[in-house]
């Protein structure tokens, strides 16, 4: 199985930096960005399995807006929302938009890791399904799949 790739989006720089280091230390391929805009930027170039997204980011795109855009760029990426109490309602709104779950700040790393594992698992199951569907399709209609692959590559 490939190594999971995670993206952390949080405007609190020290938090971001530390969390990225701790996740990397646990062998999770992690990237950190301080704003929604940069997250979208990087996601256009790279695939991620899970995005850990802060809901409240004053000064730029907020979490929910970013979530909407992420779902357009990489609909299969699972999104974990980080939220304070004041924005629990917002997070629930976010879950309706397709977020995997939300975590209350301040978070314990153990809790985050558990949730991450669940998210990865879901993503993986999803990927598996798609893969097997593609294989089945390839067996039935090899031509169509090849065309699509070509299209994707171009």
């Amino acid at each position: 199985m490939d190594a999971f790739r995670a993206l952390v989006v949080d405007d609190e720089e020290v938090f971001l930096e530390t969390l990225v280091k701790r996740l990397r230390k646990r062998n999770i391929d992690t990237t950190g960005v301080p704003s929604g805009e940069e997250a979208l930027e990087i996601m256009k170039k790279n695939l991620f399995d899970v995005v850990i997204l802060d809901v409240k980011m004053p000064g730029g795109m907020d979490g929910i807006e970013t979530l909407r855009e992420i779902k357009k760029i990489q609909p299969l990426a699972e999104v974990l929302l980080l939220t304070g109490h004041a924005s629990v309602e917002t997070s629930i709104e976010g879950m309706k938009l397709g977020a995997f779950d939300y975590l209350l700040k301040p978070i314990k790393l153990e809790e985050l890791l558990t949730k991450l594992a669940q998210a990865f698992e879901k993503k993986d199951a999803h990927d598996q399904k798609i893969r097997s569907a593609r294989i089945k399709e390839l067996i039935r209609f090899p031509g169509r799949v090849l065309e699509q692959v070509k299209e994707d590559e171009s």
């Binding site: 609190e12 020290v14 938090f15 530390t18 969390l19 280091k21 701790r22 230390k25 304070g84 109490h85 004041a86 629990v88 209350l104 700040k105 301040p106 978070i107 314990k108 790393l109």
Partner: protein
Amino acid sequence: MKTSLYKNLQRKIIIITLLVSLAPLIVLGATIYYQFARMYGEKIEEQITYRATAQAEAVELFLKERTAILCAMADTHTFNDMTDEKNLARIFEVMNARAGAFVDLGVISNSGQHLAYVGPYDLKGLNYYQHPWFDEVMSKGVYISNVYMGYRQLPHFIIAVRRQEGLNSWILRATIDPDIFEEIVRSAQVGKTGDAYILDQKGVCQTRPRFNEEILTQSHLDTRLFGTRTTVIEEKNAEGEKTLYAGSRLKDGKWLLVISQEVAEEMSGLFATRIAEIVIIVCGFLAIILATVFTTRMIIKRLRETDSRMNELNAQLIQSDKLAALGKMAAGVAHEINNPLAVIIQVTGWMEDLLYEEEFQKSHNYEEYKQGIKNIEDHVERARKVVHNMLGYARKMEPRLEDVDVNSTLKQTIDLLKNHAITNNIEITTALSDDLPIIASDQSQLQQVFLNLITNAIDAIGSEGLIEVTSGQVDSFINVDITDNGPGIPEDKQKKVFDPFFTTKETGEGTGLGLWVSYDIIAKMGGSIRIKSEVGKGTTFTVAVPAVIPEKK
């Protein structure tokens, strides 16, 4: 409001109500009485006038009849017939038989000589030439005298008629019985004080009045006050008693028939009416005063109750406003604390991660570092819990509705705390009402409230004591009393127990949020928590939860 203000208000209402209701009553009573008295007076005057007029006419008729019969006798008999005393006696007999009231009868010559006489007195042979009446009758033909004493020295009056017989003229004269005449006049007197008598032009009594005055004495009445037609005058005596006099003239204005009546007697009907009216008005007064005072007192009492209820509600409102404001502030502050806490946790976590690397493990201060990090983590955790609790309750959390059995919720809660209580030698007893309804409420929130209150009770007692939990329905509320026999809470602190961060526990033991949160939960359900505490005896918290019956699904 102060007691004096209520008293003042009460006084004002009573005075205004009494003025408004009593004034018209007085005016109405006075007007009715005045009108009634006026009509009554007019009626009495009318009556006495009528009586005087009628009586004067009757007396006049009596005199005319007597005069007529005398004229008839004179006209139908000759001088010779008349001077024959036998004849005269027969005529006298006939006259008395037909008309009556004659005392005597006599014939007098034109020289004044009394020629013939029938009657009880010895008047024959007397000469009347010098008497004033003789001139009158000789010149006028018919004459009725005033009452006078005359030869017989008794009050009497005479009717005399002149007969012209050729060149000779003579006089037939009769005396009227004063007793019969007086009786006729007196027949007009009425009641105990009524009187009827005749005065001449100078005010001399021609018949005997019923009271005080004698015949032929001067009456106190001034006859000039009476007009030609029947006149009524009013007189007041020394005692202030009023008397009405009605005077009607007769005998060509020479006599005055007077009918008198004391007003008091005539007015007795009116006085009875007046007394009845006064009694009715006084009763009305009393009834109005009593009703006004009673009603006003009742209104003021209600007002006081309403005011005190409103003050209570205001106090509750202020309390909940205060709590809401504090809650908002706490939420804001807590949120700002959360962010640095999140950073601290991560940074500490990172330090811990690094500590497990080989080079650090070799350091002789490794254990110290490890302990330091552990301490930081513990205290961040403590702060996190406080903030978590605070945020959890500060944000809008509407209770969800489910079917709740308050008694079983209480039992579950007590089970949870049983071991804790037993360890501290505290006994928890229950007296739960059997017929509590299942209500629509939020079980977990209710449980949290009971948990908070019972935990507080255990903490308040410390060790060895008793906690009593009772439940029951009061009106539309289910009341749960949690009573401990701990040290109690002083009155000045009782008001503060529901404020956030207020705690009687030692620093670090309690957050001071338990009761605040409980109060908030119950308030949002539409209920209330009340405290009753006495130092040295213990504390009772009463939770009143609205007994909302769940809708049938």
